[in-house]
Subunit: 336 residues, 2 copies
Amino acid sequence: MENKKKITITDVADKAGVSKSTVSQYLNKRYQYMSSETKNKIAKVIEELNFRPNDNARNLKVKKTKVVGIVLANLLHHLSTEIVRVVEERLQSHEIKVFICNSDDSPEKESDYIDLLISKQVDGIIIFPVGNDPKVYNYVISYGIPLVFIDRIVDGVTTDCILLDNKAACRLAVSQLQNKGHENIAFLTLPTDIPVSTRRERIEGFKEAMSFYQLEVQENNVFSVPREEIQGVLEQRFLQENKPTAIVAGNDLVLREVLSFINKVSLSMPNDLALVSIDEVTYSNLYNPSITTVNQPVKEMGEKTADILLDRINGKTDDPFRVYRFAPELIIRGSC
Amino acid sequence: MENKKKITITDVADKAGVSKSTVSQYLNKRYQYMSSETKNKIAKVIEELNFRPNDNARNLKVKKTKVVGIVLANLLHHLSTEIVRVVEERLQSHEIKVFICNSDDSPEKESDYIDLLISKQVDGIIIFPVGNDPKVYNYVISYGIPLVFIDRIVDGVTTDCILLDNKAACRLAVSQLQNKGHENIAFLTLPTDIPVSTRRERIEGFKEAMSFYQLEVQENNVFSVPREEIQGVLEQRFLQENKPTAIVAGNDLVLREVLSFINKVSLSMPNDLALVSIDEVTYSNLYNPSITTVNQPVKEMGEKTADILLDRINGKTDDPFRVYRFAPELIIRGSC
DNA sequence: TTGTAGGCGTTATCAG
DNA sequence: CTGATAACGCCTACAA
């Protein structure tokens, strides 16, 4: 189990009785310039020695690494990982591998991983951004590495962005509820003090949708509070007059809290309270009653991300950067 | 937005009016050999030029990369990602970064990613294995890269393994059910034709636990079928005599199917049917009724994984490789 | 305290 | 078809 000296292309060349160059030719599949005899010989030696070329050395000469880095805000966020899967599949089919990094909602970690990916010379970077310092991201761009944002926009950074049409999502949610006769609708989301474009868009979208359907937005029905306070504010709200008859949960974390609240006070859906959640969750079909959700088109978004990135990497496009908005889809289930 | 020539240590040296070596010293924080004047000058130039050292070149000389690769079987599997988070946190505190790769339950992809990680010269590799060809894994070891398996064992590979004590998990599940007076207990798991040690261990564990509690294992109560067949076999089974009064779900995927079945035929838990699931799921507390689960000690397992790997990487141990079994924990909730 | 020279493992160029 | 040889960007003696 000694940590033996790593074997190199030179070892292979020596043992095969050819030169390094020839082995290199072999590694790069330039078989044309090679007798099938030497070819086989090299193959055998590589097998025997269990040789693997050192990519670091290779990338010193060759500019492309065929690796793309994805920096995830949160590994546990199901939507992100689903998009990643789609992106990865698409990139794989172009022979590109993916390294996933987890920023764990920390701008510092995110920045560290971006630096690492740059120093590894990856061909492209995809970020679910958590930070709000444009400098970090702009450096990637100025370094010449194609960059795509998913899920959020960062002020001051001009690059391709893949986003849900959040306002349309709210409109779908509200439309479904007002269809069912609800007028007193509450909206809950996490705090918007940090510049997370998504949350702000959803609040605005909710308000716009309400007025679109000529419903009144009661100010004590719109909440933007930290996760751990959600149950508290709901309990309070439901002690007041004029209880909401329906709730729109601004994302999956909010949904969890809302469901806990509903369980705790034994409300029954959809009669006591109707519910629509933005973003799919794993248990929407399983839950009793099943949960109506507004879903992101994961497949389309992932594929678009991969395609844009590929085009930029291969220099196939000089189109100006733009924001791609994807239409949400309403999945009507039992909760409303 | 031209893809400008990447700037190198030479550019920095030139612009700062010092030599490459001095810049290198700076990069490696050897400030002792440097006037604070030159130090500041270099810092400024690096900032201005937005220089980032090329890790590939660096790693050619320096053996440690300070990067560990994790190959995940399935990004969407919550348990895995939770363990990854713990591992990562631990490794971060030792200045080690983590690249996550998704094998997507494909042995080929897994093998490709292992090769990639090797050629990137990572310091260590952690795998949630999906393949069963020892060669792939043994190559990592023979290459001198420390390797840790999580969740499964692979026949023919001798290395450190982090596993749940699966038999104990089944014993906990059965004990809880027999406590509640159940005797006719069914067990469901996915197929065991591929050599996935975990599934086999859980089936055996179930049988042993039953006999330990002097309960009879009815052969038509033990299922090992593909996911898409689970609901079908349950429907059939519940048409027969002697219906089970309780079910143990062998993992989270099985649980989903069982819950769908229960919903479809409108059984009520825990009265019509009691349920215990092995492995935690995100919705266990939210569900109605909440779901009793046998949990893996994610934190301990993740930390142990990181610690073992760190010790191996730093050559701090020559202990023989071993299998670490972790005690599961029963979380009693409403489903039984 | 700074500079020079050589090497890390691979690829590319160009003779042979 | 094969083999020298010079990069690639950085690090590390050792010399100045």
